[in-house]
Symmetry: C2
Subunit: 398 residues, 2 copies
């Protein structure tokens, strides 16, 4: 079990700290911070959550810190539009959404949930001064983001430097043995350790950072704002289809970080990939099947695969695959263009994205590629089928 | 009167701000900050206080901010031994001492005194975050001390960056029109202006910085810790004697910054100095007389000059100038050395200082220089007179 827990971690500070804590045999407090401004979880977050499940199954205590204190303040400068102040109701709703998603990986009946306004809400200015005196500017500037912004002469509002100290102090309050996050959280997690040490706590937390999963674009880390994510609550077909859309270069990364295959199974699949004798798409399907099974179930996973193969791979769509749309329902008239129709059917794609898709042969009318989206709909007999990209198919009726 | 107020200031920000505020004709709120860890005032502080008196005499409102909130916290890191946390009683005692000294320059029945724990004591962490969000790291790093310490890799605890923000916020609370200090306070005063502006206050304070007075050593700014100061509460003879000890190179600086002579009188004295026909010691005496008159009165000033001339210049001491000391009272025996006797009589001078003084001819027995302080007292007939330096004279009796 200890071997399972130690497996797949990117960074442990101090290096032998986790093995030592585990060897001690006591129940450990494992801290997981949650920023309630961003409640949607995806496979990137799940890398951390699945490691937490290893800890939970070994009998350790998972403590989720809801950072409600700062979420309700937001960014007082108003410069960061992604951080408006949240009401208590919004924080609670986001926390509920978050915990419901945690349930897809963790036994949430056994986790502890703490809201940090509990301790920060009653902290006076004098205590704030004493708290932040434990941290130096030099330590804060170890954070890459602060250092580069300072060196480039960009603005760092002073309260931003307090935020890592706040979340670090959470570790003191909950007596954390371990704080876990992605490797992009190394700095924040280290501040927790630093403050525990500065305040002479008996516990000095071990920092455990999991590797970052790249998104479906194959380049950037998975993130909602980059639109390259696979959400934990997506339906089985979307989850399967999005996984099938990752570039082959990410197969091993997804196999390692996102699936529940055993080490032996993973080794076999890697060997097959290395041999060059197998079609990577077959391995990708196995990965997608496994992922959908984790977040839905085996039956849903099988159905998702069948639907995917029928629609995308065999390019054979049955009537049931079409999404029928009447012109009026889409807000179109016969004078509208094909571009208008595509955008009305798939509003999440911008007009320029749709043009690029058509240029690449990704838009089809009755199965035939069309490159000129400026054509009026009157040029096409109704009803017709409109395929946009690999997976979206509509039947447009008058 | 406006001309008097504008006279002798080193820096005004914005440059035409003070003239504009004065032209407006309303009663101005003039802020003076006081750090209650250092209650002893000297002629250096008086440069600022005498400018405040100009404002007070013109009918403006002087508001003294006692920084009790941070004084009671002290330096939480314990690294700065000059900032232990003060008790409320110590703060009050220091404030009393301070205000009693202010009375030597200002009409203290007309000043307003505010303790900043009044507003900071009830400020919550959320309000602290909003407050400090108005200031950027870049702005704080304009402070020379912060910038050099950061660049040299020395420690800056994060709470130190909050302190200028606190004292800046004082300006918001008291609705300051003007903040005054020495040129070494320019940064702190500017933070007050910055925070008023960031919070959209109707008042944006004008910063008025007075020149710094150098101490009796002729080099460093006057400061208690440098032992080069002339305290406002020193007795007339010490005040006169210390002023007479300043190097000639500082005569004009003291004439300008420390005396109450009129502009015409100052101009005449400067012309005399420039002519090279007068003894600078005579101008120095006029400066010393004026200074002692300000903080004592004309009679005390005259007596101080007479005593100084008798003792130091004419080297003619009368019996009344001697401080009689018996061996036993000094903890000496006839076997003690001359060095023991000097150190017992003047314990504030170290043994090595006394040796250097003797080497330079500054120690005399019965008016004769002695260079060897290792001689036993038995070598000298009792009683004898012992002169140490220019102003300390003892009669040592058996």
């Amino acid at each position: 079990m200890t071997q399972d827990i130690l497996h797949g971690i990117d960074t442990i500070v101090p290096e032998n700290g986790l093995a030592k804590k585990l060897a001690h045999g006591k129940t450990l407090n494992i801290k997981l911070g949650f920023d309630p401004t961003a409640p949607d979880l995806h496979l990137g977050h799940a890398v951390v959550l699945r490691k937490l499940r290893d800890f939970q199954q070994a009998g350790h205590n998972i403590i989720v810190i809801i950072g409600d204190f700062t979420a309700r303040i937001g960014d007082p400068t108003g410069r960061n539009v992604t951080r408006p102040p949240l009401t208590t109701e919004q924080v609670m709703a986001n926390a509920d959404t978050y915990i419901a998603q945690l349930a897809k990986v963790l036994d949430i009946t056994k986790i502890q949930i703490r809201f940090n306004a509990e301790w920060f809400g009653k902290m006076g200015f004098d205590e704030v001064i004493k708290l932040v005196s434990n941290v130096t500017l030099g330590q804060m500037m170890q954070r890459h983001d602060f250092r580069t912004r300072y060196e480039e002469g960009r603005t760092i509002a002073l309260h931003e430097m307090l935020y890592p100290v706040l979340q670090g102090y959470d570790s003191v309050v909950i007596d954390a043995d371990i704080e876990i996050g992605g490797t992009d959280q190394l700095f924040n997690c280290m501040v927790g350790k630093m403050i525990q040490d500065a305040l002479g706590c008996k516990n000095s937390q071990v920092v455990v950072c999991m590797p970052l999963l790249r998104g479906t674009d194959g380049h950037e880390k998975m993130s909602k704002s980059k639109h390259n994510y696979i959400g934990l609550t997506e339906d089985a077909e979307n989850m399967f289809g999005k996984t099938m859309s990752i570039p082959d270069a990410l197969l091993i990364e997804y196999l390692e970080l996102a699936t529940s295959y055993s080490e032996t199974e993973k080794a076999n699949m890697k060997a097959e990939l290395d041999s060059g004798n197998c079609n990577p798409a077959e391995i990708k399907k196995m990965i997608a099947r496994n992922i959908v099974t984790i977040y839905h179930d085996a039956a849903a996973s099988e159905a998702a695969q069948l639907a995917f193969e029928r629609k995308v791979q065999k390019k054979a769509f049955s009537d049931v695959d079409y999404q029928p749309r009447a012109l009026a329902e889409l807000g179109l008239t016969p004078d509208s263009t094909l571009l208008d129709a595509c955008h009305a059917a798939l509003p999440e794609k911008s007009r320029s994205e749709l043009r690029r898709l058509a240029d690449g042969g990704g838009v089809k009318i009755n199965g035939e590629k069309v490159s000129d989206l400026n054509t009026a709909l009157t040029q096409t007999a109704m009803p017709f089928t409109l395929q946009i990209g690999k997976r979206d198919l509509f039947r447009i009726t008058a």
